[in-house]
């Protein structure tokens, strides 16, 4: 029973990060019908920015509340700007071209970021993995039995931050003028333009929002798993993409549910069968979901007009 609880904690922690990254995939897909394969690498850049700020503040394993806040804000703002630049110069010129062109460009951006960051220029980049400072000083908050279940302060704080970000996004998408415009663009961007919605600006803002969320997820990831390196985005990005598809790509609550489900499925497969099955079951789960509900758990299948 106690290891069931521990597995649950591990799974939720991994799942919230998948969910945050999946949100970026899903929002961009919603407005552009583009799978932004560079998204995981934007997350990587976010963690490196956070790492840079933490270095500047001189954090090894101590910090202040304001310092942590600054690390998050700097990484998120930096990635928002980067998201804007990527959209403006890589994707917007291709918007009326076949969708495959933009997809290949996304893969190109992904490689440019993940391999470009392995070159030694400036203080941040470089191929070697490095340890992200413990910006939330680890303290045990809950211990059940003889250390049978252990919960740390940063696990609870990370979960709270992730949930906070998701709630903010939910409010933004469903309760604000920007959100309504975004949903309209997602529904049909030509008609939205006819209704006077500034489509370009909405798409740019969507990119910035998704990139900022990725940066937030990246910092949470670095707090959880310590090591950061330029290729980390590929792995997390792939898992988050699967999560987005499970939930129904283009659907915001779907991405959250998909992320959590994927995290929990992976965790319990390892816990109760064999760790060699982890990825096989995770991707098998994806296939089963797609067979039963081709649009994903929350997605709707649009009838293709012939």
């Amino acid at each position: 029973m106690s290891d069931f609880a521990q597995h649950l904690i591990n799974g939720v922690a991994a799942g919230t990060i998948y969910a945050l990254v999946a949100l970026g995939y899903t929002m961009v897909y919603g407005v552009l019908k583009l799978i932004n394969f560079a998204h995981g690498d934007v997350m990587m850049v976010g963690t490196f920015l956070g790492y840079g700020v933490a270095q500047k503040l001189g954090y090894g394993n101590q910090s202040t509340l304001w310092g942590v806040l600054l690390i998050f804000l700097a990484a998120m703002a930096g990635c928002a700007v980067m998201g804007f630049v990527i959209e403006r110069f890589a994707y917007r010129p291709l918007r009326d071209k076949p969708r495959l062109t933009a997809l290949i460009t996304a893969i190109g951006i992904s490689f440019t970021l993940s391999y470009g960051f392995q070159l030694d220029f400036g203080p941040l980049p470089g191929a070697a993995p490095r340890a992200f400072p413990e910006i939330i000083v680890p303290t045990e908050w809950l211990i059940v039995g003889d250390r049978a279940v252990v919960i740390w302060n940063w696990q609870v704080i990370s979960l709270a931050i992730a949930l906070g970000l998701m709630l903010m996004l939910q409010a933004l998408v469903y309760r604000s003028r920007f959100g309504r415009a975004m949903r309209a663009v997602s529904f049909d961007h030509r008609t939205a333009a006819l209704m006077g919605i500034p489509v370009d600006r909405i798409i740019a803002l969507t990119f910035m929002l998704g990139s900022a969320l990725a940066a937030g997820a990246g910092i949470l990831y670095a707090i959880k798993d310590t090591a950061i390196q330029p290729l980390m985005g590929l792995y997390v990005g792939l898992k988050a993409f699967v999560a987005a598809v499970i939930g129904g790509i283009g659907n915001v609550p779907g991405a959250v549910v998909g992320g959590l489900l994927l995290g929990l499925v992976e965790e319990f497969v390892v816990g109760y069968s064999s760790s060699s099955w982890r990825d096989a079951v995770a991707f098998g789960f994806l296939i089963i979901v797609l067979l039963v509900r081709p649009g994903g758990l929350f997605g709707s299948v649009a009838a293709e007009k012939v």
């Binding site: 290891d3 521990q6 597995h7 591990n10 799974g11 922690a13 991994a14 191929a127 070697a128 993995p129 490095r130 340890a131 680890p138 211990i143 250390r147 049978a148 252990v150 740390w152 990831y221 959880k224 798993d225 310590t226 090591a227 390196q229 290729l231 980390m232 590929l234 792995y235 992976e266 965790e267 497969v269 390892v270 816990g271 064999s274 760790s275 060699s276 982890r278 990825d279």
Partner: protein, 403 residues
């Protein structure tokens, strides 16, 4: 438009077919080496690499790319060895020169570099590499050309199986698995061990298999076996499953970048079992990534800088004086590879490649920095391994375990 495309495609296919034909045709009669200017054919008479006062040897190393630290230590140590040899008058009245090529940590570049050394530079023999996949790519070129090759640190058994011209001065993977099993059983007196291995790595699988077999034979018990895949950074699910089995120790034959995280997460989950591993742990980065969590763990390695043996201490002092850092195991192995080669050239009755090969194969009880090296009939070095304990920012010598 379409027909133009078709024309281009067809010509490409034709060109490919033509190339393939050329490649599969019987070897053409000896043609002059491209751009080399040397007239000797690769395998014809003469003595490649040897002039009246020099002997040219080659090295391929990962000087850039993901394993750059491995390649740079190796090259430094080989240069140090050759400087010493030349200062003492060289071999058979000749100075030894070396040509070094970078392989960017990639097997295809390693093969390319080996080709250049063999055909263009006409070296007497080749030293290198660290990564087994790179060494195997080089050996595939060296063996057919009958050029002796000594790998300094490739531990995968398959490397020297490529042919009778391929040697190594390090021990092989199965031995490391045995060493840790023996250490866990005899020194630490453990009975219950869990194994966590990298599913995609031949190195990790090899060590883990041998460890499990040997430890069980010695009377120990493997209480849990879990796996992970390269690239993942969250090992909590595997570790939670291991925790349930309550082992005395966890054997993790992986690379330092994974070990640091595994150690942290194990301690975080309240696992107090000892951690053990192999030479893949040997890196400065282990201390940064693992922090306090990895302290008190044990791993097997090729040599220890703490070893009081004067031969080792002299090497460390010389290396420090030349390059300003304590040599790692790869540097020590690079030094030994160069010295074994020099020793063989000295003993060889002539400076033909075949004679040098026979002399390398006859290496017995050579006093190296990484132990006394004897090459067995499979061209592998049989020699002891050391077990190191991880401390604060450095390692400590614990034991030597003989084959």
């Amino acid at each position: 438009m379409r027909s133009a495309l078709a024309a281009v495609l067809t010509s490409c296919v034709l060109a490919l077919v033509a190339c393939e034909k050329k490649a599969s045709a019987p070897p053409p009669p000896p043609s002059p080496a491209p751009g080399g200017g040397t007239a000797a054919a690769p395998s014809g008479g003469g003595t490649p690499g040897v002039t009246a006062d020099t002997i040219l040897i080659g090295e391929v190393g990962s000087l850039t790319g993901s394993e750059a630290t491995f390649g740079i230590s190796t090259r430094n140590a080989i240069e140090l060895a050759l400087r010493e040899v030349n200062a003492a008058g060289g071999v058979k009245g000749r100075k030894i020169e070396i040509r070094v090529y970078d392989n960017q940590s990639k097997p295809e570049e390693a093969a390319q570099a080996a080709n250049r050394l063999i055909n263009q530079d006409q070296v007497l023999l080749i030293l290198g590499e660290v990564a087994s996949s790179n060494s195997m790519a080089m050996a595939e070129k060296a063996q057919p050309a009958k050029v002796p090759m000594i790998s300094n640190a490739s531990t995968n058994p398959k490397v020297t199986e490529i042919g009778n011209y391929i040697f190594r001065v390090c021990f092989i993977d199965p031995f490391q698995g045995y060493v840790m099993a023996k250490f866990a059983h005899d020194h630490l007196k453990l009975t219950k061990v869990a194994v966590l291995r990298d599913l995609g790595s031949a190195y990790s699988q090899g060590l883990a298999d041998v460890f499990e077999r040997k430890f069980t034979e010695m009377g120990g018990k493997i209480v849990a076996g879990e796996t992970y895949t390269k690239g993942s950074t969250d090992f909590r699910s595997q570790l939670t499953a291991i925790k349930r089995a309550a082992p005395d120790a966890i054997y993790i034959p992986g690379y330092y970048n994974d070990i640091g995280l595994i150690a942290r997460q194990a301690r975080e989950l309240g696992i107090t079992a000892k951690l053990m591993g192999g030479d893949g742990w040997d890196s400065e980065k282990l201390f940064e990534l693992g922090g306090a969590a990895v302290e008190g763990s044990y791993f097997s390695n090729h040599y220890s800088p703490d070893d009081p043996n004067p031969r080792i201490q002299k090497f460390i002092a010389d290396y420090k004086a030349a390059y300003g850092s304590v040599p790692d195991a790869l540097a020590a192995l690079g030094y030994d590879a160069a010295m074994v080669a020099v020793d063989a050239i000295k003993r060889a009755p002539s400076l033909e490649r075949a004679a040098v090969r026979d002399a390398i194969a006859a290496t017995r009880n050579f006093p190296g920095v990484t132990g006394t090296i004897t090459l067995d009939d499979k061209r592998n070095a049989t020699k002891p391994a050391v077990v190191l304990e991880v401390g604060k920012g450095k390692t400590k010598y614990v034991a030597t375990i003989a084959p």
